[in-house]
């Protein structure tokens, strides 16, 4: 079930009504009912069984692990359950990577709930969380249906802060939530859908569309991905806000980051946090890595020797980030190993960098220097993402860059050739104007202490409602819904 679908909208409306007309104490069970409704509406039976199996394993493992007992047994259970849960995800999602061909389609949301479940088992094992005894309560947050569509990856130890059932209907929260949903729809349907038309056309025939076209496609793909993913997250967070739940943010103005490390702390935040908590630090603290650390310190000195295990752990973590995005080398390289290489290189060259700054007397506090840092980050990220979009493999990613430098055709920007990419002039204007709106809103957000919604809410009633109405109209009129009606369906009518 797509997040932009009538079915999903109807499910949300019905669940909201049901949620608010029932007494406070039974509300969590309303969520359980709609979690199940979503599971069955969005998945085939075998997928539902897969999800339920994952939840049952997590639920039982956490309870056993929490009980007093021998440590080796607990460890075995943790390892076994994590292997089974992660294995299910890998097999269903990325079987091709291991040369297997499994025809089953992975259940919706497998990438998100799997990580949350693994995190929960580990948290209980490490004693930072308590196992949930009530299976319905467990399924309420583990199977919370809006996050099944596109995340974010929630940490169950924060469940009491996220899911509150003791509050009555709050008008402001509800309205803010609805506005956020609308903003998400704008990003996804007005911006991402239009940008995708150009990106798909160019990537679909990159030998034909060489030179400047490729540059346009790789730059626009970053915008498309951001608008699409953050749009989905806005919808999920908005719906949750309407329920009165506060889910963690997944994006925090990533394009204003001064380096890649900071960028990845602002882009897909929940994935980054999950990997830091459950992969990066545990690896670093593991016995083999402690040993490596000792050896490298002896060999390369204290300063460098200390960093080598960190970098090794970084490489493993980034490999997994790439693999999580898709079990193929274009993902592993583009949003994994390439990013790790840049971050590690950045750290290695830091002394040299500082020396250059000192010698050239560069003032790092100027706006120009900050802009340089932002653009540099943007270039690295865009380059990595160009491989992410090369769906036909890593080779395609390199071929695309070869084509990008094969010809100099800047004139396509004004000779009308861009009109052949599937969008007419009107749609192109709407696309760029919408991107401009997105940038302006981001800038306002970065300069203000409160959210844009709060800013709008503080204005007078006419301005406020005019904003909402305009946004609604823009989404309805300019939004692109799935396969559109073929406006020129009857071509012979134009004879």
């Amino acid at each position: 079930m797509d997040i932009i679908s009538l079915r999903f909208l109807i499910l949300v409306i019905i669940s909201l009504i049901a949620f608010y007309i029932t007494p406070l104490r039974v509300r969590r069970y309303i969520i359980v009912i709609f979690n199940f409704a979503f599971l069955f509406l969005a998945n085939d039976l075998y997928q539902v069984i897969g999800i339920v199996l994952c939840m049952v394993i997590t639920y039982i493992s956490a309870i056993i692990v929490e009980k007093k007992g021998s440590l080796p047994l607990k460890k075995t259970i943790v390892v076994l359950s994590v292997v089974i849960i992660a294995g299910m995800m890998v097999l269903l999602k990325d079987s091709k990577f291991f040369g297997l061909s499994i025809d089953w389609v992975a259940p919706l949301g497998i990438s998100y709930y799997t990580l949350s479940c693994i995190g929960y088992i580990l948290d209980v094992y490490w004693g930072v969380d308590k196992a949930e005894k009530n299976p319905l309560r467990f399924f309420m947050f583990a199977g919370y249906y809006p996050i099944m569509t596109s995340g974010p990856i929630i940490s169950y130890k924060d469940r009491d802060n996220i899911f509150s059932f003791d509050k009555r209907f709050e008008y402001e929260k509800f309205c803010f939530g609805a506005q956020r949903v609308l903003w998400g729809l704008f990003k996804k349907m007005v911006i991402a859908a239009r940008v995708a038309t150009w990106v798909d056309a160019i990537y679909g025939d990159y030998h034909k569309y060489a030179g400047i076209y490729i540059w346009i496609a790789v730059i626009l793909f970053v915008i498309q991905l951001y608008a699409d993913f953050s749009g989905c997250i806005d919808i999920v967070l908005g719906i949750s806000e309407m329920f009165g739940f506060k889910l963690p943010e997944n994006f925090n103005l990533p394009f204003l980051a001064k380096n890649l490390s900071v960028f990845w702390r602002k882009w897909h935040i929940t994935l980054g946090e999950w990997l830091r908590s459950y992969i990066f630090y545990p690896i670093l603290k593991s016995r083999p890595f402690q040993k490596i650390g000792k050896t490298t310190k002896k060999r390369f000195g204290k300063r460098l020797g200390k960093k080598i295990p960190v970098w090794l752990s970084l490489v493993i973590t980034w490999f997994l980030i790439g693999f999580w995005h898709g079990g193929a080398w274009n993902y592993i390289f583009g949003v994994g190993l390439f990013m790790a290489a840049i971050i590690i290189l950045g750290e290695m060259l830091e002394p040299l960098w500082k020396y250059i700054i000192k010698v050239l007397h560069i003032n790092t506090d100027t706006k120009a220097f900050k802009a340089f840092q932002i653009i540099r980050t943007w270039i690295f990220f865009t380059f990595g993402l160009s491989f992410f979009r090369s769906y036909n493999g890593l080779r395609e990613g390199f071929d695309i860059w070869k084509e990008a430098f094969s010809t100099w055709n800047i004139n396509v920007l004004w000779n009308g050739d861009l009109l052949e990419l599937g969008l007419d002039l009107g749609n192109i204007i709407v696309m760029f104007f919408s991107i401009l709106v997105l940038i302006i809103i981001s800038i306002i957000r970065s300069r203000s202490d409160c959210s844009v919604r709060q800013l709008i809410a503080s204005k007078n009633i006419v301005f406020r409602w005019a904003c909402y109405l305009i946004l609604l109209v823009v989404v309805i009129i300019y939004g692109q819904y799935a396969i559109e009606f073929d406006a020129s369906a009857f071509i012979y009518g134009k004879f």
Binding site: Y171, I483, F485, G493
Partner: protein, 327 residues
């Protein structure tokens, strides 16, 4: 309490205001063409023109025009629509109202019924068809805009059976099957865009149908809808003592076309027309022409001389349309 009340008023007011604004825009764009064009430009809905729907409305209005003394009606698909255009002005007793595939045999039935009702001198009915028309159904892309909307706007929808109307309501929603909505679809680009896309969205999303095909059909058979209305056309003509001829579109001389024609024979046999004079006449009337006579394999190149030659040969082969003047 008062604060809560104000907030509820605000939300209700917002919804009401939205509906009013949409309503005003819909009405203005439906009844004022210059404003419709401006709004179409701003809302990127310029290409959502209703040429076909409006042409069907015009054709029904022509049928209902009693100031003309028509005695013969020629209905059919888009091939028919263009083929007879050049002979129209020389034949005042003939009414040529070819339509399109999504108009289906059901739409043609309405045309024939209206013609017989409005013209007491009616003596002959011609149906000029091709395989795709027989296979056509009430589809997502064309069924609403090209069949239902013109019939609702001309208030001839009740010529169809109640079952058909109910099915259309089920397919396109009862709301869209009302006069104001039909009017909007046929005259306002932005409304047309929103309404047609919402129908598409509903079919894809709620019903989970594959609506990517431009024309949906029942390949290799006369669709149940067309079978039903063909039967009604035959009954109506026989009741009113009017001669009915079903003639084949001219087709290109290719293996595919020949295969299609033999398939059509089977289609008629399977539909219970194996001994029917109409099916025989239809299959025997087929004329093959070189591929270069067609722009897309189906539609004849738009040259008056060529069209007239084909009509003449059609006339000679079927020995019908005896008084048709071809200059």
């Amino acid at each position: 309490m008062k604060k809560k009340k104000n907030k509820i008023i605000c939300v209700v007011g917002f919804i009401a205001l939205s509906i009013v604004i949409f309503g005003v825009v819909a009405v203005i764009t439906t009844y004022n063409e210059p404003i419709n064009q401006v709004v179409a430009k701003v809302t990127l809905s310029e290409e959502y023109t209703a040429e076909e729907g409006q042409a069907r409305v015009e054709s029904i209005k022509r049928i209902q025009d009693t100031s003309k003394d028509y005695s013969v009606i020629v209905v059919g698909d888009s091939v028919c629509q263009y083929l007879f255009e050049s002979v129209e002005e020389d034949n005042p007793s003939y009414l040529f109202v070819g339509s399109s595939r999504p108009f289906t045999i059901a739409g043609q039935y309405v045309q024939i019924k209206e013609f017989i009702d409005y013209h007491p001198n009616a003596r002959e009915v011609y149906m000029v068809e091709g395989i795709s028309t027989w296979e056509s159904i009430l589809d997502t892309q064309g069924g609403y805009q090209q069949l239902m909307v013109p019939l609702i706007e001309t208030e001839t929808i009740n010529d169809l059976d109640e079952e058909t109307i109910d099915y259309a309501k089920h397919n396109y929603s009862s709301l869209y099957m009302t006069y104001p909505f039909a009017k909007m679809v046929n005259h306002s680009n932005v409304c047309r865009k929103l309404i047609l896309n919402s129908i598409m969205f509903y079919h894809q999303d709620i019903r989970g149908e594959d609506t990517s095909a431009l024309f949906e059909s029942t390949p290799g058979e006369i669709s149940p809808l067309n079978q039903h209305y063909l039967k009604k056309i035959i009954q109506l003509c026989e009741e009113k003592n009017i001669t009915l001829h079903i003639i084949h579109d001219p087709v290109s001389n290719t293996e595919q076309s020949k295969e299609d024609v033999s398939k059509e024979r089977e289609m008629f046999d399977n539909a219970g027309y194996s001994d029917s004079k109409y099916a025989d006449e239809y299959i025997n009337s087929v004329l093959y022409y070189p591929e270069e006579y067609f722009v897309d394999g189906t539609h004849i190149v738009r040259e008056r001389e060529l069209e007239n030659t084909i009509v003449q040969q059609m006339k000679d082969k079927t020995r019908t349309m005896n008084d048709l003047v071809i200059k």
